[in-house]
Structure formats: structure tokens, C-alpha cells
Subunit: 540 residues, 2 copies
């Protein structure tokens, strides 16, 4: 019969993260871009005090453990305090994506039964529009000092964050509870049907934050300065707001300014060593750096995820700027990072071009997460790097049930991701497509992502998107959309010839549509649904 | 009311560690010194197969989940397989320190109710002596191939590890169970009274292994090669046998050869980047390197613990050999590492000498462990770097109860370590003494460790030990033992003058005893009990 270990029954709680930083790294800075422009800076000791003040303030408003407190906010220090003050109190922080359609926002706020909303002044017009439709929200709190409070017609009282918390004590004893207690809530973007809520536990977030700081993942130490560009409303900013204080790293929060110039200046001024965000952000940053012939003085490494990073961009970062790209994969349902790539000594012995090709994949499962790829019958396919199937994941920070969901999404204890992937013999996973985006042509699969990656390698192409269009003979055939770089043009025949060198002949798109820009959603991904609406007819 | 998160209920299990390595780092090498001399090398994929074969073999012997399987073994690949094969099966691996007195070994084996014993051929004479007194042990298994099996009179059958496992299948489905299930057992060295057993859970070991790989701790990545000199029978080798496969680092196991020349050659040949062990090992290594005017080509970092590393030694490693010392603290009751020091940017801006002084302390609590220092009334003392008191720890990998213990050692939920420590404003902890070693002189405390550190800074001193001796006026006064370096002599008056520049005048020892060597116990620490027996009378 199994014996039980005799270790302390201490829970993994989020409040311990900020108190760890306050006690071991009390003078380490948090630098935050205020929504109205200037930089604000204080320390982890101050941040912990702010979180405790907020906890007292929320209790003073009559909020109780289990209550849901929402946020619609940039990456800034007040939002950071809310991550700790809300979850640490046993409440649930519901990070809302401001780029959702207002109807979707109203839906998720009501679905969550939200009691309060924390928001940045930027979003005052949005709040004004949705507030009348969110009757459960009793407290509207603007993340602002007194001088920069907006007026929002119809909301009275409009509470100011600083005015609310300033009079509160910074003494607060964090409650201790089961580590499976809910800490945060995030809804999927819900391109089809209603958004679905993922209710993260303290255990999931703390374990993921530990995993994310590991040397094979983002490798965050007390010698680093980290700038998460990935929004705090997007998959918990990949848990960096937890991992940075856990590791004692200086944390730089960019607020609303995510353009290339602002990011570059902030990285240089604050001596940022690690960053993390989606590929489109890095495209903007690199364009600025190239146009102005700049260099990165301190940046060593950046985590990339959300969508596939083109190999050409990886190569430019690595070869021209000595910035290592760590390419990962995760989704709302996986708390944050599930896989990430770090070149091994075996990889580093290969020619640079082959190294970049490995980085262009989404890496190995981080310790704690299991991955497998299954065929349409549910059988695990070989780890040969070429057999495609649906990616399945499991682990202590993977969703089990959706919030108030009717039935568990799991299949045999695994979460089906909806992504088409391959895994190779070294455990390196590559996303080939979404199950809904893959183009099924004559019984074979064409990866829209591979086609797009091939197209953006063309020097005049800024963005590319491929959708499947119904075809009488082949079921589906690819249609490609191309947004050229500003001031450049691309010739269709030349582009097809360019692609023909890079993909199988039968993968070549049946047509190419040139556009000024592509519709991009709240998380920086091209909204293929929009393209399907306008162009998803039948070929010929 | 608190809400419960909706994440998967996946346990943290040790079997997942080796399977993670086998799937993501299958070709990464494990290099192991055979007990009979030559190096053996294979991969993590092979190691996982070996662990599964062992699991089948143990089941074949009739052993069942919950059974205790002991080991008396060096750091080698068969011992590594046992870490996984035994614990992964739901059994408990009881790592025995071969340097315990045979009577103590017999005591702990019987106390543990051990069913089988795995041992290296080195220890055949020891096994012969204890076997008749260990009736519960039904299976004696020598960690050897057929060619190097010893004959042990009275043990029949004597099972050979390779002969036992070779015919077994390498297919085994690791059972899934609660992460609080017992995985390993280790007894304290028990300088007074019987040794006490600490029963580690899967959760404790997996969490500690994650914590130990973090960039602020040992910083183990898939680009590293790690050589744990700290024995696998000593606090789980600081969980490196778990952390290395978790991180995909190449693992080098030195077997029985721990002398300076053997370690240096192994480090160079296998391109070791990280090591870990007690200070006396590093003293031996550095002596060899200095005598032969060698350099470390790949070593970048070493973890040190078990006893305090003298600042002079830290400085030599850092300044002359560019090897960073990470100084930590832990004990049998803390699974492995509880605190470890990594210089922060703030520290790195200081002069080198001051940096070394910071490294000479035992670092900050790793995330997951809380520390505090309390006075004799149990009140927490200020974190001022000077107020001493007993160090208390808590966390998910700290002991709650001793195995079959009559009452919990905890005080208000914290484990009292028996160490005297200070903590400074940056959270850096320094062990000043053991509660039983501190010298209470005229109501004030004199740190025996600080006195010893000051003495070993003298160029002719190899080792120093200080004990308290009863004194009619001052209660206790310090008596110092000095073992000079080979071929050197030290003058008492000159030594006292040397010390007078380094410690308070009232700390100076009342007398100095010169000896050829000091009695060292199984874990490399000076056995002060021995000194007290021979010299613990009354001064004057």
C-alpha cells in the first residue's frame, strides 16, 4: 500500500510571489508607463504595499473571497497590483481583452458575474458604452491618479484607484487556502460562438510561472530586466507578471505604447534583457530599428508566441542583432506557455540556417506539460516530424472544464487544442495549422501557416493570409491574401514563382488577392473569419 | 465564498521527470563512473528504459507499492535508475549513508522496515556485517554487472543488478497516484540520539527540483553539463538527479572517485559546466589544480553547501578561475536547497571583495521556502544582518513529521533548524552557528563558524574547528583546533594576532590545539562531538 510523505502541507499561492519579491528583492524596480504618458517607477516592496492596500480597499467596498473583479487595462503597475491584491485576497481577477466586440465584453462580464471593474482611462468610452448592460458590476474603478481621471457620463460614483487605495493600510494578512482555489479568469476570443471562460487556480499560475522562469524557457533571473509586451489581458501575459517578482527581475511595463519607437526607446533606457510578445510586435520593432540603423545594447532574448514567427524574422534577430528568439506555444486554455524552444548543444552544432529552422518550430513541452499528436481516430501518431494530427495537451496548468461550461472539453483526460501539429524525434513540436484553417485538398492537408511563412519571406511582402475556398473537384483550395510593404508592389506571377521554390506544387494558391492591410484581432492575429466572409465562396 | 479553479488535477510525479527527459532529450548523455573504474555512458532514453526494467524487476521480486528499498551506493547510473524505478513504482527509496556507524545503519534499515537493499560492490564488507541484523531485507542486490560481482559470505542468493534487470521488459506503465505519496526516505546523521527519518513526497521532490534548476539557484539548462559531487545518499544529492533530466542537462556521475585529480579530469573530459558539493571537496580540487597549474576550460559555476564555504576559497574560485560560487543552505529536513545566493546587479556593482563577502553568506530563500529568525522567546528578530537567532523554515518541501516520529518537530507551523542565523535587509541569510555549537560567553554569542572562517583565511591553515568549553566566569569560552596544511607550521601567537584583526577581541579563543587532522563525518563535516569528548572539560 502506498505510503504518504511527511512534508508540510503548504499551498502554492500567488500572494507568496509578491511577498517573496518584497522580502528578497525589495529594492528591485518596477517601471511602468502611465496611461497619460510619463514613466512611473517604484520597487517590489512598494508594489507589495500597493497590493495589500488594494486588498484592504476591496474588502472595504464589501467585496468578498470568490468575487470576480474585472480589468480592462494596459500593462502597468496598478494592473500588476491588481493581479496580486485581487487573487491574493481569494478573489478572481477577470482580465478582459479591450479589443473584443462590446457585445462580447458585455457577455463575458455578465457570464462571469463580475462585481467590480478596474479600467484604464483609455477605455473610458468603451466603459461608458458597456456599463449600462453590466448590472452586476457595482464598482467602476479607473486605474488613475486624481489628476487624470476621465468623466464618464452615467457612472456615479466613478472611483479613482489612487483615491481609493491611498487611505488604506498597507498591512494585510493574506489568507491561506487550498492552492486549487480560483485566482484568475480569462475568456477565449471566441471567433465562433460565445467566448468560453478559463478559470485558473493559484496552483496552475504558480507552477506555470516557475516553469516559465526555467533556463530552458524564458530563463528569468535577478540579473535580468524583463519587458512583457504581451498584454496582461492575454493569457496572463504568459505569467511574466508572476515570474518576474518570483525571480527578482526588474520589470518594465510598457503601458499603451507598443509601437516600434516607444518599445525600442524603453528597452534601451531601462536596459531590458528579455522581452516577450507576438510576432507582429517584433516586426514593428525591427522595422523601426532597421530604418534608423540602431542596435540593441542589452536585449539578449525574446519569447515569441501567439502565432508563428517567420524564420526570416528569427534569422534577422539572431544574425544581425544577436537577440535569441525563443519560440513557444500556448493558448488561453494552457494558462501561459506549454511549449518553448531552446537550442540544445546538438542544435547549436548545426549551420545557422538549420538552427533558425528549428527555432521556427514551437519547441519542446516544458516540464509539467505532456503533449501528443493524434490522428482523426484519436490514435497517437509517430514523433517523426512529418505526420500531422491534432495537438493534445495535459498538465496541472491545462484547463479541465470551462467556467460554467456544460461539458468538459477533455478527450480521455487530454485537452484537444484545435491545432494541427507535428512532433519530431527530439520532442520539438511544430504548429502546422488550426484544424479550422487547414486546407483539405483532394484528401491531403495543406498548411495555411506554411504557405503564409513562405510568402512573408518575399522581400516586398508585409503580411500574408491563406484561407481555404470550396472547390468542386478538390473540396478546398488555397486563396492567398497579400499586404505588400509600404511603397512596394508585388507581381502575382513572380510571387507564385517565388512560392514554387518553397512549397509543393499542389500547395500553390489558386489565386492571390492584394490588399492594403489585413484584418487583425485583439491578440494580433489575422482574423481569417473576416476573409472567409468576404471571399469564402467557391472557386471557378 | 472561495471558488475552485477548473484546471486539470494532474499530480507532480517523479516518473514524469525521466519520461520528460526520454521524450525531449533522448540523446543527451548520462556519463557514470563504474565502481570498478571505467566510465559508462548512455542516454536519457536508455536511462528511462533501465528504470522501467528495474520497476518490472522489483515487481517480479514480489515488492509492492509502499515498500521501502534501500541503497548504499555512489553516484552512478544504476543508482540513478533506482531513483526512478523505485519511486516511480510507488515504492520508497531509502538512501543510506555508508559512512554511518554500522549500528546506526542497522537501526535505520530496521526502523524503515526495508525489504530490499541495492548496494555498490565497494560496500560488500559493510553489507556482510549488517545483513545478519536486518531480517526484513529479503533481497540483496549488488549494483554491478556479472563480471564484477563480489562474493559475500552468508548472503545467498546475492542478486546482481544487471542479471536481475536484463531479462525484464523495458515497457512499464508508471502508476498515477497522489503527489503527496512517499517517494524517498533519508535519515539525519543523528550526532545525538537515534537518526530520524525524513519521508519525502513526490510533490516535495519535483517542486524542489524545479526550484533548484531556476536561474537564481543552480541555473540548469539543456546547454549545461552537470556533475553532482554531493552524494546521492546525502539530501537527495540536492535533487540534481531529478533536476538534470528535467532540464535536459548532460549528467556526469563521478562514482567513488572524489579526489581532486579524478574530479578535475572528469570535468575537463566531459566539459562539465556546473558542479555541486561540500567545501572540503572544492578544497581538494583546488589544491590539485593549483599544484599542477591547471585551468578549468568549461566550468562556470558551482553550488556549495553542507557547511560554510570560506570567503578566501570563494575568492580564489571567482578571481583566479572564473568559477562562480553559489553558496546555499539546506538539510535532510528540507529535501535539498532551501536558500542559495546569486549576486544581484546591486551586488555586482560592489568591489570584488565585498561581492565575495556576500557570497560567503548562504543566500536568499528560494521561491517556495519561507525563512525567519527568532529569538529565544520565539519572536521574529529584525532583518538587519546582525541580530542572531534560530533559523525557522517552512514550505512544501520542508519536513512536517519524522518517519514514525512520536511528535511533530514543528513550532507554530515552522521547522526549527537548530541553526543560528542572521538575515539582512536584502533577505540574505547567514548561518552563524549551530544552536549546539554557538559559544555562549558572558550572555553574548560567539559564532564558532565565524571564528573557523577567520582561521582558515590564514595561509598555513588547512582546517579549523572551534568548540565551547565550560568556564567558571563566562559560562563558555572558545577552544580552537587547527590542522595546518601539509608541511607547514603555524605559531599560536601569530595565529591569535591574525585572528585579532578579523574578529572582536572577546571572541579570541582561550587556547589553540594543533592537530594533524580533524575528525570528519560521513557528510564531510567536522565531528565536533568527538572534540568535545576529548577536550570538552573546563578552562582553568
Amino acid at each position: 500500500m502506498l505510503q504518504t510523505g511527511l512534508m508540510m502541507n503548504r499551498p502554492l499561492l500567488i500572494s507568496a510571489v509578491i511577498e517573496h519579491a518584497a522580502a528578497q528583492y525589495r529594492d528591485v524596480e518596477v517601471v511602468s508607463r502611465e496611461t497619460h504618458g510619463p514613466l512611473f517607477r517604484y520597487t517590489y516592496a512598494d508594489c507589495a504595499k500597493g497590493a495589500r492596500k488594494l486588498a484592504n480597499a476591496l474588502a472595504g467596498l464589501g467585496l468578498a473571497p470568490g468575487d470576480v473583479v474585472g480589468s480592462i487595462a494596459w500593462n502597468n503597475h496598478r494592473h500588476l497590483e491588481a493581479y496580486y491584491g485581487v487573487s491574493g485576497s481569494g478573489m478572481v481577477i477577470h482580465t478582459c481583452n479591450p479589443r473584443l466586440h462590446p457585445q462580447q465584453l458585455i457577455y463575458i462580464i455578465n457570464h462571469a458575474g463580475q462585481k467590480a471593474m478596474l479600467f484604464d482611462a483609455t477605455f473610458a468610452p468603451l466603459i461608458k458604452g458597456i456599463a449600462p448592460h453590466c448590472p452586476s458590476v457595482k464598482h467602476w474603478i479607473c486605474l488613475s491618479d486624481a489628476a487624470h481621471m476621465p468623466a464618464i457620463e452615467g457612472i456615479d460614483p466613478l472611483i479613482g484607484y489612487d483615491a481609493l487605495t491611498a487611505p488604506c493600510s498597507d498591512d494585510f494578512t493574506w489568507p491561506e487556502f487550498d492552492e486549487n482555489t480560483a485566482a484568475a479568469l480569462c475568456y477565449t476570443s471566441g471567433t465562433t460562438g460565445h467566448p468560453k471562460g478559463v478559470l485558473y487556480s493559484h496552483r496552475a499560475i504558480v507552477l506555470e510561472a516557475m516553469a516559465g522562469c526555467m533556463p530552458n524557457v524564458l530563463a528569468v533571473s535577478c540579473r535580468d530586466t524583463i519587458l512583457p509586451v504581451v498584454p496582461m489581458f492575454h493569457i496572463n501575459a504568459w505569467c511574466i507578471p508572476y515570474g518576474a517578482p518570483m525571480s527578482g527581475a526588474k520589470l518594465v511595463l510598457p503601458g499603451p505604447r507598443l509601437d516600434g519607437e516607444s518599445l525600442y526607446t524603453l528597452m534601451e533606457d531601462e536596459k531590458v534583457t528579455i522581452s516577450a510578445g507576438v510576432p507582429s510586435i517584433w516586426q514593428g520593432l525591427l522595422a523601426y530599428v532597421e530604418q534608423n540603423q540602431l542596435r540593441f545594447s542589452t536585449m539578449r532574448r525574446t519569447g515569441v508566441g501567439g502565432s508563428a514567427m517567420p524564420q526570416a524574422l528569427i534569422a534577422r534577430f539572431a544574425d544581425e542583432y544577436q537577440v535569441e528568439v525563443r519560440h513557444g506555444w500556448g493558448m488561453t486554455e494552457t494558462t501561459a506557455v506549454a511549449t518553448m524552444g531552446t537550442l540544445t548543444p546538438r542544435d547549436l552544432a548545426l549551420p545557422r540556417e538549420q538552427q533558425h529552422a528549428i527555432v521556427a518550430r514551437q519547441g519542446k513541452s516544458v516540464f509539467g506539460v505532456d503533449i501528443k499528436v493524434v490522428d482523426e481516430a484519436g490514435a497517437t501518431v509517430p514523433r517523426d516530424g512529418s505526420t500531422q494530427g491534432e495537438l493534445m495537451v495535459r498538465g496541472p496548468w491545462i484547463v479541465r472544464d470551462y467556467f460554467k461550461g456544460e461539458r468538459s472539453p477533455l478527450q480521455g483526460g487530454w485537452f484537444p487544442t484545435g491545432d494541427i501539429a507535428t512532433i519530431d524525434a527530439q520532442g520539438t513540436m511544430q504548429i502546422r495549422d488550426r484544424t479550422k484553417d487547414v486546407i483539405k485538398s483532394g484528401g491531403e492537408w495543406i498548411s495555411s501557416i506554411d504557405l503564409e511563412s513562405a510568402a512573408v519571406a518575399h522581400p516586398a511582402v508585409a503580411m500574408a493570409a491563406v484561407i481555404g475556398v470550396k472547390h468542386p473537384k478538390w473540396d478546398e483550395r488555397p486563396l492567398m491574401f497579400i499586404a505588400p510593404k509600404p511603397g512596394q508592389t508585388v507581381d502575382k506571377e513572380e510571387l507564385l514563382a517565388f512560392l514554387a521554390d518553397r512549397v509543393a506544387k499542389w500547395w500553390l494558391p489558386d489565386d492571390v488577392v492584394f490588399v492594403d492591410s489585413l484584418p487583425v484581432g485583439g491578440t494580433g492575429k489575422v482574423q481569417k473569419e473576416e476573409l472567409r466572409k468576404t471571399h469564402g465562396g467557391v472557386f471557378r
